[in-house]
Subunit: 336 residues, 5 copies
């Protein structure tokens, strides 16, 4: 799974500020423009895409009182999904997986989330796809549940959008495995083996990306921080169960791939066996016949029946009998 | 395991309302007809088959005060078995497995169960079979234990009917494996491998359906909700043990299938070996003989014994000696 | 492991009633005859063999105040070993394994045990063997420890007799594996594979029978019921350790069987290799010789040396040289 | 992974003593020169390289009140990573892994760390590389965080430098595996197998070195000793997550290597299969042709068509027909 | 790992009684001679070798107030390592492994240890070696730590001597595996497979002997009995870590052996492949040549070029061309 590369020079900052009645959505130029929204009673969501430069982060750290270790983690490229509960906020990092429709590849990008009482900041790399769009759509509608609830519910919706998207990755693997299975059962070729190997690697990488998230959601759901309200926990529990379902399926797919490898390897053995059978049948039939012809090719002058007119007919008859016996023997052995 | 499809347009609602003395069983037209039974002191069981339309569910949610997440889970098609304990009710989802006798397939459908103090609602897809029928029969009889006990015991009976039915699925697999084992030991063919593979997939799918139920029953049995009375726990513990037994057997079957794969693969190796032996014996016997015949077929005029009358007899005798030596050598090597 | 069948129509009831001074042993006709002994201060052991009829069990349930679920478990044929601690008694079910000396098979039967303050009831199927006999012998002697202690110690002695008997089953497997190992290392045949497979199945079945007993004895030993006195726990701990030892050995045997399979499969590969070597050596030696003979068999009139008297000798010499070179080449390659 | 050998006769003692304002760095001659710094309010770091002689250690033990077992552990050559929390200090031992650029090998050396309230002693073997250099650079700068914090933060920085260096080892393995994968997929040779085997051994050794460190950092992070301040725990938690990430990757690499072995083994099977196909095609085509030639080589005088002028042409035509039929048969079977 | 047999009729009793000032070492005739030392304030160590007769044990039981189950365990031949904490003493049983230098075998014997406040009794079978000798040497010296401490420290020293000796067993396996690895990589033979199998069995047996000791030392170290003083725990923790290190290494060795099996099996495949290649090359070259020779051996009178003087030269030239084409083809395919 290639990591999505960050090839755009500048990062965008999108700000949402909403409560049940009011709603602001705008793209801001600088992090300073976000500070005023920080302590308003409305929910503030700041989404920053592409890894920001150092100066940007320092401003962010001071403006939102972030721990230096958290800022280092946001910029670190290959974080393992984890949650860090601090006094005033929760830091969560996980992996958003999307399918690059063009190249038919799974793309992986790192998402960091800082959840505080009245604001929530997300960092993503945003190259191929973005699973947050449905959440934005929900916020824009005034009657949705999200508009009446707090930052913790927003965090749940964002995490959940990522978890739900994992099912698409599952489907991607499922289709590939299904197709491979068809091929291997009907007509196995040596290319299948490389497919099995690359699917296995893909699943390993998929599992590595999502497995630690299990614990992350578990920690949030158990309410180890008061930032997560009790009413939100049932939603997180639901996400947790969905994630477990994804993990279960990944394990099942790995077992199926192992089974496919056995089927493939065995088909190679079977093919070798059938090649050997052809060789053996041909050799076993023609060796005695050739010997008999060679016998009568010896330059003795008095081989039995050599000078008779029925000689060739008798020898040919003997050859035919040998051939028939051999063929019926192999038929009985089911080699033909 | 194909998921049972829902191809009927309308869903049925069956209502049972009973206590030790009274008993009502009727098919109602609308969910509104059930509301009056909701808070009666008698036990009310509402069974809804086929996934209901959205309007239906909204009415249900309001009428029975269900959490929106629960209603989403009821309609979600492929839930992992789980339990959700809320203040006023318990939500359980699990998988009912039945055998489609006609197509000899294992069918899987999702069953949701909402257990409250005085009512219990079940949702099922009801296509092929239904394991709840024996429970209905029990309710109809006035002297049974179920008539004297509460909704929690009814929930146990429903869950238990599903667990007991898993043993039929086990038997289905057991018979298939037994038959396959016979075939592989007596006369292995390349079709066996595909059978092993498809049985393995079937068991993986079976295990995925039942494994999480273990935890579900465990949570109910430990009495984390006061809706489950202490007297019912011993029954749930029994179901739990039965389920563990099913899971143990599935694991054992998987180990047996792995063993069968080894037996199959080894039989292919053995067969290749025996084909090779035939080839080698034939080649080893006839190559020297053919060479000898070829030697005397050379157009030299003074090969040893060429012009003698006993020449052919001597050469034939030498050939026979070679053949006998070879045959006895192969017999000693146990290749014949 | 076949389950011992119950083909006798009637079940026997054996009653022991003893304390340090007094001792009664008798076969009673009906369960009613046992009731009077129920609450005496002496220890009462009622052993019932073969699964009793329903009427019998109902009488038993009433006479000894048993929970209906327990009575169902006693009659259920294939219970997983478990313990159920109730207020007034403990119910334990486990599997007694015996070797049918005649058919050289491991027989499995289910044993249920109901332990109360002053009585203990056991149910067994009693077809082939019975591991309880040594316990009966101990009870008959007035000076033994068992005569001075309570029902919990009697329960320990009964369970322990079953655990100790597992070592005989271990020995049975150990001998079979040892013999198989000898065969596979010295002269592997295709029958060995089926032996490995059937031993693996046997061990799987053995493990399934004893593994859950571990937890059962653990629960008893931790003293979760006051029916088990503190002084008895050290004995149960001893049984527990013995059982762990059996389970460890079963795991080791399974690892050894996997190793044997590798040895077997590799020996098949080695044999195929050596067959191929014979074929290759013979072919490689005789093909050039036959070609040379064929060359001089061509009906040209002016092949080199054809009309000389030393022609045959030279050709034969060339053939011998080729043969010697080939043989020494193969010797160097260690193919001969 | 060879253990770095200690071939230098004398060990160096480097002393750092610093607080926010002052900073001393010097190489001292004897352990006695360190004692005065022991209880100063500034942080004292003593780094000792190469295993010191016994006399040295005795002086150290007395001077710093170390437990005799700790001193034994420092000198013991192959300690498993562990932590020992005593009343006045914490003893940690772990493995520093570095890459010997010259020989392209992973070198492993043991690092011991004694952390007390105001001093910290480290022992290392210092042969190839040293991961502590970046930490020294931080100490030398007056404005760094490390200058304002205590010994526990210094200990974190030292441990973290070792953990961060593990990523270089990961990269080393990653590159080797990537290269091997390319080779095996494009052109597998028998040398690949030895590479797989040696990489597997390397990963086993790597995992053995780092796996126990997980628990060590976990113990420190949970704050079981008051020597670790609360503010330092978040840093240790970060190191912990990084280490878990390394361990996850090692497990993934092991899975990939297992997959590569399957690909390799299967490619050998495929190659054998293709060799067999060539053999079989050649044999199957030429055996009947040779037989036919042999047939007409028999010394009968009246073989059919023998004396006709078109005889050779007919026989040759028959031979060509046989050859064409065979070739098209093999093409259809995709053996050509 | 054969269990050391007890073939000597009589058992020796060695008594040590010491404190910081006094020291007695003597071989006593009867257990009665030990009783007077039982409650002295000095440490008393009684070492009994070879399994003693029943009468002896009864005297011991009474003299030292041992629980009957403990005495049974001492005499039981194949105890699993375990610890039993009683009110007045601790019973530990574990396995001492030694290498029989003469037969190059690992010998296993059972050691029981009864630790009380002021005395310690050990039982061993003492056939080949004895790891306790270094401990005796320590006791004999008046200045050692052991002379100033209590029975719990003596117990630690005895257990530790056994654990330290396990490293010698590790080394024994390590050398064997190293040697086998060399052989398999350079020149694999079929004997290697049996070596792998027997080393695997040896490691299984080794692990079975030491794995439970982990828990035993863990229980002692956690101080569940007041007989183990707090100051001794740090030593036991050290032993514990050392044992874990041994167990880790055993697991690593098992993984390496599995890897070696793969290398071996693959080398067999490679060899079969190379044998097949030789066969195929020879057959493919000589079959067409032999056919051509056979063609000109046909008894037609008008084969092309038959009566020309350049006929043989042309045919020979054709043959050479075929041979060169074939050889260059195989060279290109890297079969030569």
């Amino acid at each position: 799974m290639p990591t999505a590369k960050n090839n755009a020079p500048k990062n965008n900052i999108d700000l949402f500020d909403y409560d049940a009645k009011n709603f602001i959505e705008k793209r801001v130029k600088s992090i300073d423009d976000c500070i005023p929204y920080k302590n308003t009673p409305s929910v503030t969501w700041i989404n920053i895409d592409r890894t920001p430069p150092l100066a940007f982060l320092e401003k962010l750290q001071l403006g939102f009182d972030l721990h230096p270790v958290i800022v280092e983690d946001i910029t670190g490229p290959n974080q393992r999904p984890k949650v860090e509960i601090l006094d005033d906020y929760i830091y969560v990092v996980f992996r958003m997986l999307t399918i690059d429709e063009e190249h038919k590849k799974v793309m992986s990008e790192q998402v960091s989330l800082v959840l505080s009482h009245k604001f929530l900041i997300t960092f993503q790399q945003n190259v191929v796809g973005d699973t947050f769009e449905p959440v934005r759509a929900l916020i824009r509608k005034p009657t949705t549940r999200i508009r009446h609830l707090d930052t913790d519910y927003l965090a749940y919706e964002l995490i959940n959008s990522v978890v739900e998207n994992y099912f698409k990755i599952l489907e991607y693997f499922s289709e590939k495995i299904e197709k491979l299975e068809q091929e291997i059962i009907t007509n196995p070729t040596s290319r299948n083996l490389n497919h099995i190997h690359s699917l296995k690697r893909g699943l390993l990488s998929f599992r590595k990306s999502i497995w630690p998230l299990r614990e992350v959601i578990g920690i949030l759901e158990r309410g180890e921080s008061t930032l997560i309200k009790k009413s939100t926990r049932i939603y997180l529990r639901d996400s947790y169960e969905r994630l477990i379902q994804v993990i279960d399926s990944v394990e099942t797919y790995r077992d199926i791939l192992s089974g496919l490898l056995d089927v493939y390897l065995s088909s190679v053995s079977n093919r070798t066996n059938s090649v050997m059978r052809v060789l053996t049948v041909i050799t076993t039939i023609f060796m005695p016949l050739s010997f008999l012809a060679g016998f009568y090719g010896m330059n003795f002058t008095n081989l039995p029946g050599m000078h008779t007119s029925y000689g060739p007919a008798v020898v040919t008859a003997i050859m035919l009998v040998i051939m028939v016996i051999m063929l019926s023997y192999f038929r009985k052995k089911e080699w033909l």
